[in-house]
Symmetry: D2
């Protein structure tokens, strides 16, 4: 087992910063030695704050550093393909935020590069590392619900990101539901064969200009005979609401809860508990767990449990859902036409 994995983080937006913070102080066996971000002095400030040796505004300088074993890519999605290829070419192991890339063509090139240069690649589907989803997977594998037959996913944001983000987000199916597409595969242990998707703009009328929806649902069929429906919403003004269900042949599972703290306030108006406000609170542990898994796999020379291929498949489903939403037709997934 390797003593230490020397890491770099590229992109110091919110997620990139968390990964850096986790690697700098909470991940045994990792040493964060380099951070890169093109914006002003963000890299410099972060390096100083977290006690990191090196920083750069040019990603290439980071990727070319021979002392780096692994790179965390948290740059904007449109740069993913290029970053992936370069990182692979320099022999760096890769942790990349979802989605893998913007298009399937890019995904294929990135996967080819990863394989050619024999590097490890983990995609940031952190829900697999959340205590509730992971426990659900364990329960299913233990046979507690028999054969999993149906997955029902609910993912609701407490509001919409700004218009500038929505414009380049790829739409609600790519930006939000992709997590549930991955989780559905994970929990059902099956591959989607077709998807039908619907949606509406209920609140955020600016989305209409981009053909996006703030409330959407996709219905999926799977090769195992299972099915799923997956809702995504930008309209949960009450908080961040992430739930799942798996109906099985001998029992079912309900995943998630709306609770933030385990405290109920009782007044004349009723019994109130606070709701998880947003994803950082909900998935804080999951973000740490996934990076620990990545480093642990690298140290042990094992393959991460969620890789570039998983990234590509979730992208395929998301793109098919968007096409279904746009055309009103059921879309068969590649290989299941």
């Amino acid at each position: 087992m390797k003593e230490q994995i020397r890491c770099a983080v590229l992109g110091l937006g919110r997620l990139g910063y968390w990964h850096a913070e986790n690697l700098a102080s909470k991940v045994k066996g990792a040493k964060l030695v380099y951070v890169g971000d093109p914006f002003g002095d963000l890299a410099e400030r972060t390096a100083r704050e977290l006690g990191i040796e090196k920083f750069a505004t040019d990603a290439n300088r980071v990727l070319e550093d021979p002392s780096i074993d692994a790179v965390i890519i948290a740059t904007p999605t449109h740069t993913h393909a290029e970053m992936l290829e370069k990182a692979a070419q320099h022999g760096k192991h890769i942790f990349i935020e979802k989605p893998l890339t913007q298009s399937l063509a890019e995904a294929d090139r990135a996967i080819a590069a990863v394989r050619k240069h024999r590097v490890s690649c983990q995609v940031g589907f952190m829900r697999r590392f959340d205590g509730a989803y992971a426990e659900a997977k364990r329960r299913i594998q233990a046979g507690d619900i028999g054969t999993p037959l149906y997955f029902k996913g609910v993912s609701r944001d407490p509001g919409s990101p700004p218009e500038a983000f929505i414009k380049n987000s790829g739409g609600i199916f790519l930006d939000m539901s992709i997590h549930d597409y991955d989780i559905a595969r994970f929990l059902l242990s099956a591959e989607a064969t077709s998807v039908s998707a619907h949606g509406n703009v209920l609140v955020h009328s600016f989305m209409e200009a981009y053909g996006d929806a703030d409330q959407a649902i996709a219905y999926l069929s799977f090769d195992s005979g299972a099915a799923a429906d997956i809702e995504a919403s930008r309209n949960a003004f009450y908080g961040y609401d992430i739930r799942g269900e798996v109906i099985g042949s001998e029992g079912s599972l309900l995943i998630g809860s709306l609770r933030h703290h385990d405290v109920q306030l009782l007044t004349r108006n009723g019994s109130t508990h606070d709701i998880v406000p947003a994803f950082p609170q909900r998935f804080k542990d999951a973000y740490l767990n996934e990076i620990c898994h990545f480093i642990d796999c690298l140290r042990r020379g094992e393959a991460p449990s969620v890789n570039e291929q998983d990234g590509k498949i979730a992208l395929e489903i998301a793109l098919a859902a968007r096409e279904s939403y746009e055309t009103g037709q059921r879309i068969a997934l590649p290989g299941y036409a």
Copy 2:
């Protein structure tokens, strides 16, 4: 206010018997004087058991009795149209189980008869009289969630009825989801404009022969700009699972719970509460409340809050959902093509 409404019950299957039992002993201002059922001595036994004066195997004899003010029709669906018309012709007020009729043509004829003979007609959408759904309606009317934007319905049966029933049931959209179509209209105060529906046979393979599904979802758009998704399932082996959500512009509502008794059992295996086993336990009070409302309206000379027109509209949505499921196309509701 009328002292007493003299009632008859036609059809003494499970629901008809409950209505009879409720009218016989629990509904102030109602007097059950006649029960009718074609099968053997069922009417006679029921009359004796509940202390009812008259019984008959021929529905016509009941409908022709001039002493009867109101009739509860709980006969098989294929007889509804004829029963409705005859009851109206004899000037009886009518409480009829859902669905109103099998076809829209029948529904139109029945509605015409009801109006021509100026009788009251209530349709058995008992969920509107359930404590949880009724409270949700009150909360929405009180403005607690702002404008209702989205309804999410889950209705799951603990298993499938026998094949003989499924064969003539009209399919899962008519037999099960029709309750949620009505409730969606009720809670959103809006009319559906289109529906897309999907489904699969996950467990009960015999359904394939009838083009039915044991797991289905419908996505509805409404004229208010709201939308809805409504799941129906025959696969909740764990119990009877009826839930709803309404997302509003300023808050949301979760309706229903899985609890049967307010008792939790704590053991080494965890904390367990029992789940409502089936619809009689879940909607016992609602069945009583709806009949009380019917009798109360008749005594006061007021119109029931859920009538033949509501019955027809829910039928329209259910038939459109079935068509969408069969054709793979989005179906516009009448008047919204």
Copy 3:
């Protein structure tokens, strides 16, 4: 089985009126034919409203009516002893509100009268007929928690009754906790051997003048080796809060919930469900169930499951708790000194 039990209700305060209403319209096999109350025209108005033949301001006239089979005594506690003895002398079966009497001496005389005249007597411990407590009893009898070892009771009122009531209430141990003393015996299937009680006035300072407390707890030991703690409070400003727990040798039970409707409101402030506001809402079904049980027993010629002896024992515990609270000493129950 007797066709019909002819009933009278004495005392038309809140509880008496409910019993009258239930008997008049919801209890099969019961016919309410007489109501009595000394105050003004309350009896007359109630008789008219509920369609009852006879009414009186003098309880004796009611008790002397030979056509009456059973009498429901819901008069003030200080009249219980006299009412019980007279009713028994006239051969009436008796349903009496808790507490049985004010003193043990009165209780003994009443019990002697009931036995001498061989009438049935049920005491109004309605919690035994509540769905949650009854289910808990069934679970315990089914062995689901092994041997019951500990009962923890919480009974909280949303405020204090007026000073005039508190003055004659007998104090919090007699007025409130007596329900839990009975339920502890019921669930543990054991008899209390000693009690220690403590309390404070946290809010309602007028109680100090009467030596009463608005927050109290009693610790009980039982002859089976089990124990219990029982809290009573007048300070649950948030609602009516009735809970229980039974720790068993192989599992435990949690009884009750704070939920009123099965509806959760989700807003930026959190997830809120309303709390049962007061005992009528919480125990509405239990009040009906206990009267049905009483009538049913009379029709079948069976003994009610909770009788005058249960009433006396709960009174013994409550009086001992009050004595312990006043003296600071542990009090042994009669027969266990």
Copy 4:
């Protein structure tokens, strides 16, 4: 702000090991440089495993090391007094596991030493650093429940420690309830004036030989006029059950939940969620948070929020509760006789 606090851990039992692990890899600004334990090669193995420079079997060698800023004392309770005094004499800041000492005399000597040598001292009441209790404190401070009037604590272990431990544990009031005594002070912002305690041996009969109980309750009065009842149990065979309630003048709080994972399993037997099995799972984050607080205070030159005085007061209450249990008398706390 100091860059780094150099730490040592004394006593590498379960809690000591966790503190060492947390300090070694998860606490920014701390550097664990020394571990000590008298047993065999435990110190050596731990040092190697966690990458710590030095280890010793003799606590004195650790305390004499001039490079150490702070020491975490997790040795057996009977050694606390000596360790505290020596650590203070050597000018080390001190984090000490509860209880502070075994006797009040020892506590006074330890407190004198801490003050004389002007070192910081934090006591391991980790519940104050648990998310739920901390949120409750914030809510109370924010005025959400008005004035806190009553605390109700429940602490139940899933079983008894071995007889050898019970023998030297000081009994259930010292070993278990001391946490709730501290939390009651914390949440009520008040000091206890008297305590009455009761208990029984319900299951673990070996405890009778030591005058201990496996089920106990204490009733406390406070100088603010508030009161509390605090249950402790070794009989929660279903799991680790830690709950609290605070009744306030304008609302109440319920603290804690039985849930381990946010997953419910639905089967024919009901809806089951797993229960927290034991304290490591329940208070994992709290143990980390308290050490972070300790280190953070040392770096900032601030006093820890829970100190040796808090340790002494909780001890006073626990000893008084034990005396009350043994004598059957209400015991006044020092200064409130």
